[in-house]
């Protein structure tokens, strides 16, 4: 059982993300993104981050804020269409964009956290996504070998955390968060609510506190 721990301020959490780090950030168009830690990274002037996430949000939302502030040198995402700044920076050569089909992204992160050497998916066969990748035929059907993804730091948003940092997620704000909790060396979770131990029933814990390196304080 994990021990009780002291919650960090968003600024303290941001200080644990080194410049140049590979960072997984939960969220889908900012829903389920750790917004306070993102703001603190922008305020700190983080540089050279490789960000793995579903999308680059909007210029004023989610991962989009990091892109606009120049904190990011590369993104590995499924979608950039809602953030014209990402497209501009990509065209200008200021940011590298690796586009990954959303389901493949989820499974690559899951594989990274599950000790798998990759996954085989039919998604992307016969498209530009297949370029440079191994195609394996299983029972007559073609699959792409997609490699696992891991990160130095995962920045999560959750609904509740208890004092052990056991986490729950809420509705469509879960998305990539529980997968990323498994796939990074340092895991930082930003909760909406902090509750006493025992309030979250064992069956409702989605990410066990023992996997969470640091908890951010609840919003004031």
């Amino acid at each position: 059982m994990s021990t009780q721990r002291k919650a960090l301020t968003p600024e303290q959490a941001a200080a644990l993300v080194p410049d140049g780090a590979t960072v997984m950030i939960g969220g889908f168009l900012g829903v389920g993104s750790p917004r306070r830690v993102i703001d603190a990274l922008v305020a700190r002037g983080a540089k050279g981050l490789t960000v793995i996430g579903n999308d680059t949000g909007r210029p004023e939302l989610g991962i989009g804020k990091l892109v606009v502030a120049g904190c990011v040198s590369k993104v590995i995402v499924s979608h950039i269409g809602t953030n014209p700044v990402t497209q501009q920076k990509m065209m200008a050569g200021e940011i590298a964009v690796e586009l990954v089909p959303q389901g493949t992204l989820a499974e690559r992160i899951r594989a990274g956290g599950a000790g798998l050497g990759g996954i085989l998916t039919p998604t992307g066969v016969g498209t530009t996504v297949a370029e440079g990748k191994q195609v394996l035929t299983v029972d007559g059907r073609d699959y792409l070998l997609e490699k696992p993804l891991r990160a130095d730091v995962a920045l999560l948003h959750c609904y509740e955390a208890d004092y052990y940092a056991n986490l729950t997620y809420r509705l469509t704000a879960q998305n990539f968060n529980p997968l990323m909790a498994m796939a990074a060396d340092t895991v930082i979770a930003e909760p909406d609510e902090v509750v006493p131990i025992g309030v979250i029933p064992p069956d409702h814990v989605r990410t066990p506190g023992i996997l969470v390196t640091h908890l951010v304080e609840r919003p004031h």
Binding site: A106, L171, P178
Partner: protein, 216 residues
């Protein structure tokens, strides 16, 4: 009836009772308005929910409950929320009975392009590649032509979304079915002549002896 309503109403006729369906962002979303009376269709939003409803009243929105376009939604009784791996396991694993997606181009082989225009617009594929690879039926809902330029073309000039052909293409002019022998014209929109459809299509199109009007 405007072009979008024609498309949405006709696509809604492809819905079947007790099925799981994913609607893409934009035009496909309109299909949910025309679910036939008494039919149970479970709509999935790939950001993580089955069973979502209309936007809540002003001030009742939940920042943790949105659709794949980021718009606020509500959850219906019996809704199910899940993570992204589960979402795409539903899509790829043979559980998704039908998806409706927008399109930039469809070619004679039935291949769809809908995620980027080289040098102009790079949106990213989002969930589209998984949906076309994995859903049991893939219905494309799009305008027949864009600013006078044909979208149903002999060969894609844009990067394909999948090598797998789509099941059906519904436009404001026609219903077209990709088959191993090529594209077949199945229906025409009310008041639209076959010649008009042929003129707006650069891909070869097989025209059967009778092409009924859509029954909307």
């Amino acid at each position: 009836m405007d072009a979008k309503e024609i498309i949405a109403r006709r696509v809604a006729q492809e819905l079947r009772d007790r099925t799981l369906v994913n609607l893409g962002i934009g035009l496909p979303t309109l299909v949910a308005r025309y679910v036939p009376e008494g039919m149970l269709v479970a709509f999935q939003s790939e950001n993580g929910i089955i069973g979502f409803g209309a936007r809540p009243p002003e001030g009742m929105e939940d920042p943790n409950l949105t659709d794949a376009g980021g718009g606020f939604i509500s959850a219906l009784p019996g809704a199910f929320a899940f993570d992204s791996a589960t979402s795409f396991a539903l899509i790829r694993g043979g559980h998704m009975d039908m998806t409706v997606l927008g399109g930039l181009q469809v070619d004679a082989r039935g291949r769809l392009a809908n995620w980027m225009v080289p040098g102009k617009m790079v949106a990213g594929m989002g969930g589209a590649m998984d949906l076309v690879a994995g859903a049991r039926r893939v219905v494309v809902a799009m305008q027949h032509a864009a600013k006078g330029e044909a979208k149903i073309v002999p060969e894609l000039t844009l990067p394909p979304t999948s090598a797998r052909p789509v099941s059906l293409v519904v436009t404001d002019l026609a219903v077209i079915e990709p088959t191993p022998q090529g594209l077949v014209l199945r229906e025409r929109a009310p008041g639209v002549a076959v010649e008009e459809i042929l003129a707006a299509t650069t891909a070869p199109l097989t025209v059967p002896d009778t092409v009924p009007e859509m029954s909307l």
